[in-house]
Amino acid sequence: MGSSRSRMDDIPHAQQLIHETDFSAAHLLRLHQRFKFLDKYQTGELRPRDFGAIPALALNPIGDRIIGAFFSPGRETLDFPSFVRILAHFRPTDPNRSRDSTQQELANSRTRKLKFAFQLYDQDRDGKISRAELLQVLRAMLETQVVEEQLQSIAERAIQEADLDKDDAISFDEFRRIVFFFFVFCLQSLEKVNIDHKMSIRFLK
């Protein structure tokens, strides 16, 4: 899809990225191509408007937030290594790798995946999903389907369910707990509890 084929040499810090994210070289090439494709002005960096040009993303109700999650606070641009590192969140966890001690550092560990999702809710990054933040997400997702009152009740209910320390907001631990519960019971895989499955996509070779 890119105008020119990427080669490994074109990719800055390729080896380091591979080591860091556990992507294969083929993956990396593919992502680099995609990166260049998105980077219409060949600046070597992506801006939010580049993402906005993806048509499917424009339809996504929480697309804006996801784009936002790619950019670290205060930054307006995104270089290729950051791009890859963020996408690495969504690599399926390798069952063999997950047992070794380096797992904590990997971006696709369960905690990191959850953290990413959590940040989508937690827009002000205070470590908590407040009622207002939850409402925003709900509103975006449900659009016109429900009235405001319903949204509020849903948000209310969700916070109640999750809120263990009664601070009227969902902290990351609470978030993890609730989602953890969910996947333990929904996927019925007590052993292989997998957030990973819900938060992973297949990267084609």
Binding site: L31, I54, I66, Y121, T144, I154, V179, C186
Partner: protein, 948 residues
């Protein structure tokens, strides 16, 4: 039990000997069959069926003919023995009865049924019955008739399975399902066929089995398909996890196409045509199913006025999908499955709650009985000397081959699939999948259908198939449970989702889609998102009612969860009135709560569009207060007399409300009204300066009763019989299923204060309405409150919560109230219709009558007063149900949170309420239950269909 069974068997035997398979044999009716001796025209049954009549049809087409024959016997008889006239339906009914009674008997022993699957028992029963018939007749008269099986028994099971199958789960695993169904079945078929042929060449199989390669391939094709009936029967009791189940079961459904093509085309040996035919059969079948799904969805859009036949449409169209596919020799199972999967979402949304329940129960009943009959007949069919062309070599080879090749096939395919699957199937899954490859009635019916002239070894094949089916269903079915336990296969758990899960699952879907888009991958999520867009933009618009289209699934889920919690709390507490220590159903306690699934289901089936709102309070009233409360509660309950006059009403199109139901409804309406009242009075406190003088009308009638039994979770439509509503009777009927819809209109409240409409929870002897009262004190000491509380005034302008479809009536009543200071009229059912609306259904702006006026009222008022006091226990319970601390709302709701004693005093000054509210860490009562009104409501603007 033995005797009726025998009788049945003999009579049935007589029937079939004349009409079904054995008629060519010229077998005369056995003299030993008792019913026949009494039969006026002993020879008649044999003449009944025209030669070409398929035996399955005999069940349907026969009565008329039988009638003709039955009546030509001359002479006048006072009592005629019209056996021929009724025999077919009679015998069918008797079979159903036997099957059902057998089920009951099996389930007498709890322990037994946990060890031995029902299917095994049914087959054994069939063997016994078959043996009895054989001994009596020297000839087996029954077998599982293929036409009967394919036209009636199988569709009921497949229809049920398809309709209730989780579409998401199915499509999430579609790749695996298709692979196993197509590649796996082909692999099994060819391997079995070739291996058996090899065995034959090696003379392991006796020479008497005259079969060539084609015959063996044919046999391989029909014996290799995993059978949906058997899989359902066995896996239902094993409860493996959903993914595993859907893969095995999906495979058993989808491989039908392979089997159909295989069995029909193997003999032609034209593989190219075979492949083409496979695609036509499978894709064609799917398309037929989809087309019928669309038709079904579309039709149910317009059944608003004829709710009563909604379920019929579902059954008919799903069945027609099957028959149509069968008509064109397409894969009927595929067609039906896809029709069920496709239509489910739209149909369930379109039809009423009661229809949903009806569909569910009818389908389950039919499927269950069909399954029972299939297994019994399998057993019976096995006891047939004419079929037992036994060849040990063939049987044992087949058993070994299907088992080995199944295992090899599964492992090989899984290895490939796991390279693509996000969630790999591990070894344990593979073992269960191999072991769960059960063969069943489909294979048997197919093998019976074989043409004995072309396939010389048909008898051997039939015998072998029976053995294989028995082996897989009985032996594997019996052992799979211990195996699953031993392997620690993850089981499915029946945990109900929480609202968070609903939210996050949706969010995660969006996230993954977005990431796939960003990464430029067109993966699974990408396509699913595309589909969802399409569904939302076009399909749902076409197939869903406008009123439904606007509803949000998340919101529905929210309501369900709320109701479930309410139920579980009540379950937990037993008689909640006495247990003040009710704890919040936290997630942990929820999981430890086995029964609550049932209750939730029950409630759900009972239909409730009403949202329960549950609250928790921290303060525990003293024992004394509790006691008093309970006493009053009981008192009030016993004193309750519905005062509504009932109108007799008959309609073929609507269910009339049962007495009980009406009573409940009335109670609920009162409850609602009282809640409105309290709500309004709350508002009043906030604005009392301006309002207090405006409205002070006789409100003595409005001491509410809150005594509501939990059946009231039935959505309430208010007062069918009211004058205003009368012309909208049908709409009201419809609303009944949609649930009550309330709109909170606020004029001066700074913030939306949605209010929930908790249906009463609890059981009939523990009324559980939980009206938010302005003061908890009112609820705690209601009897005091009712006597001494000064009449709070309510302004018309203050917040009103009105059932949407009653808004018109509401306005009318308001205007009438404003113009005339209406005297209390509520005590007698003088104008039942009016009273139904004005007193019960529609909250009006009202003020309390002074205590004195209450006292001065008739005795019925007195009872009402007592009843109103009852609100308290329920309220308390409700409060306990759910903890809600909302700081920001607290301030707003402070009037609601007044301390328990507030009702006994004049309304506290505005300042005092807040402080007390904070002290108590109050819960918030007013939750929204603001659902979109369904069609036919009187509020046009809310029904605006254009929502995109």
């Amino acid at each position: 039990m033995q005797f009726p069974l025998l009788l049945l068997l003999f009579s049935a035997a007589a029937d079939l000997s004349g009409t079904a398979d054995l008629r060519e044999t010229g077998l005369s009716i056995p003299a030993s069959a008792p019913p026949l001796l009494l039969c006026p025209q002993p020879g008649a049954p044999r003449d009944l069926a025209p030669p070409g009549l398929a035996s399955a049809r005999s069940a349907v087409g026969e009565p008329e003919e039988a009638q003709n024959v039955g009546h030509h016997g001359g002479g006048f008889r006072v009592v005629q023995w019209e056996w021929t006239y009724v025999q077919t339906p009679y015998i069918i009914a008797m079979w159903l009865l036997v099957a059902s009674v057998a089920k009951i008997l099996f389930h007498f022993s709890q322990h037994f049924t946990t060890v031995v699957p029902e299917s095994c028992m049914l087959i054994l029963l069939g063997l016994v019955l078959g043996g009895v018939v054989l001994v009596a007749n020297k000839k087996q008269l029954y077998q599982l008739d293929p036409a009967l099986f394919f036209l009636f028994l199988l569709p009921t099971i497949v229809g049920d399975a398809g309709y209730f199958m989780s579409a998401r789960l199915f499509f999430d695993n579609l790749g695996a399902i298709l692979t196993y169904a197509v590649v796996g079945t082909l692999w099994n078929a060819f391997c079995c066929g070739f291996s058996l042929y090899a065995a034959k060449l090696l003379q392991v199989i006796d020479e008497r089995v005259q079969a060539d390669l084609m015959d063996f391939l044919l046999f391989g094709a029909l014996i290799s398909a995993v059978d949906p009936v058997a899989v359902l029967a066995v896996f239902e009791e094993v409860h493996v996890n959903d993914t595993l189940f859907i893969i095995v079961f999906g495979e058993s459904l989808v491989n039908d196409a392979v089997t159909v093509v295989g069995v029909e085309n193997v003999e032609t040996a034209d593989y190219f045509k075979g492949v083409a035919s496979f695609f036509i059969v499978s894709i064609g079948g799917t398309l037929v199913g989809v087309v019928f799904a669309v038709i079904l969805g579309f039709i149910t859009r317009f059944t608003k006025k004829v709710r009563i036949i909604e379920p019929l449409f579902v059954f008919l169209l799903v069945y027609l999908a099957y028959l149509t596919a069968e008509l064109f020799s397409l894969s009927a199972i595929l067609s039906m499955t896809f029709c069920g999967i496709g239509a489910n979402k739209y149909v369930e949304a379109n039809i009423s709650q009661k229809s949903r329940t009806t569909v569910k129960y009818t389908m389950k009943t039919l499927a269950s009985i069909a399954e029972t009959i299939i297994f019994i007949f399998l057993g019976i069919s096995a006891v047939d000397k004419s079929k037992w062309a036994w060849d040990t070599g063939l049987v044992s080879c087949t058993l070994v081959f299907i088992f080995v090749f199944r295992a090899v096939g599964v492992i090989g395919q899984t290895w490939v699939l796991n390279r693509f699957r996000l969630i790999p199937l591990d070894k344990i899954d593979q073992v269960v999948m191999s072991y769960g490859g059960l063969r069943g009635a489909v294979a048997f019916a197919l093998v019976v259908l074989l043409d004995g002239k072309r396939v010389k070894a048909k008898d051997y094949f039939v015998a072998t198939t029976i053995v294989v089916v028995f082996f897989t269903v009985m032996f594997q079915g019996l052992t799979i449970k211990p195996l699953v336990k031993w392997l620690k296969v993850p089981r499915s758990s029946s945990r109900k989702p929480t609202i968070n899960e609903e939210i996050h699952e949706r969010a995660f879907d969006h996230i993954l889609t977005a990431v796939e888009d960003i990464a430029g991958l067109q993966g699974y999520h990408h396509w699913r998102d595309k589909w969802e867009q399409f569904d939302k933009n076009y399909l749902s618009k076409l197939l869903l009612r406008k009123s439904v289209y606007r509803k949000s699934e998340l919101w529905e889920a929210y309501q369900k969860i709320n109701i479930r919690d309410a139920i579980s709390v009540i379950d937990q507490g037993g008689n909640v009135l006495t247990s003040a220590r009710l704890s919040l159903p936290s997630m942990a306690s929820r999981a430890s709560f086995p029964e609550f699934t049932n209750v939730t289901n029950y409630l759900r089936e009972n239909g409730s569009g009403v949202c329960l709102d549950l609250q928790v309070i921290d303060n525990v009233p003293g024992a004394k207060v509790e006691e008093d409360t309970e006493t009053h509660h009981v008192l009030a309950e016993n004193l309750y007399k519905p005062r509504r006059r009932y109108q007799s009403h008959y309609s073929r199109h609507f269910m009339s409300l049962g007495e009980k139901e009406r009573q409940d409804r009335e109670v609920f309406q009162r409850n609602m009204k009282s809640r409105m009242e309290t709500f309004k009075s709350t508002r009043y406190k906030r604005h009392k300066k301006e309002r207090s003088l405006k409205k002070r009308q006789g409100l003595d009638r409005d001491k509410p009763r809150r005594n509501v039994s939990w059946q009231d979770t039935d959505p309430v439509f208010v007062s069918v019989e009211s004058d205003e509503e009368k012309d909208e009777h049908s709409d009201a009927e419809k609303e009944e299923d949609v649930g009550i819809t309330f709109v909170a209109r606020r004029t001066e409240t700074p913030k939306p204060r949605p209010k929930s409409v908790p249906p009463a929870v609890g059981d009939s002897h523990s009324p559980t309405a939980a009206p938010p009262s302005p003061t908890n004190g009112g609820s705690l000491l209601p009897w005091k409150g009712s006597v001494s509380s000064p009449p709070p005034c309510v302004s018309v302008e203050a917040t009103k919560i009105i059932p949407v479809d009653l808004q018109q009536a509401w306005n009318q009543s308001i205007s009438s109230l404003e113009s005339v200071s209406s005297p209390p009229t509520h005590t007698e059912p003088v104008h039942p219709r009016v009273s139904a609306l004005s007193r019960l259904g529609v909250p009006r702006p009202i003020s309390y009558s002074p205590p004195g006026s209450v006292g001065g009222c008739t005795s019925s008022i007195g009872s009402q007063v007592v009843q109103s006091s009852l609100c308290f226990p329920e309220k308390k319970k409700e409060q306990e149900m759910e903890e809600e601390q909302e700081k920001e709302e607290e301030a707003e709701l402070q009037p609601l949170l007044a301390p328990p004693t507030s009702l006994t005093k004049p309304p506290p000054p505005p300042g005092s309420a807040p402080s007390s509210g904070k002290r108590r860490k109050p819960s918030v009562y007013l939750r929204s239950l603001v659902t979109t009104p369904s069609t036919g409501s009187n509020e046009p603007h809310s029904r605006d269909p254009t929502q995109l």
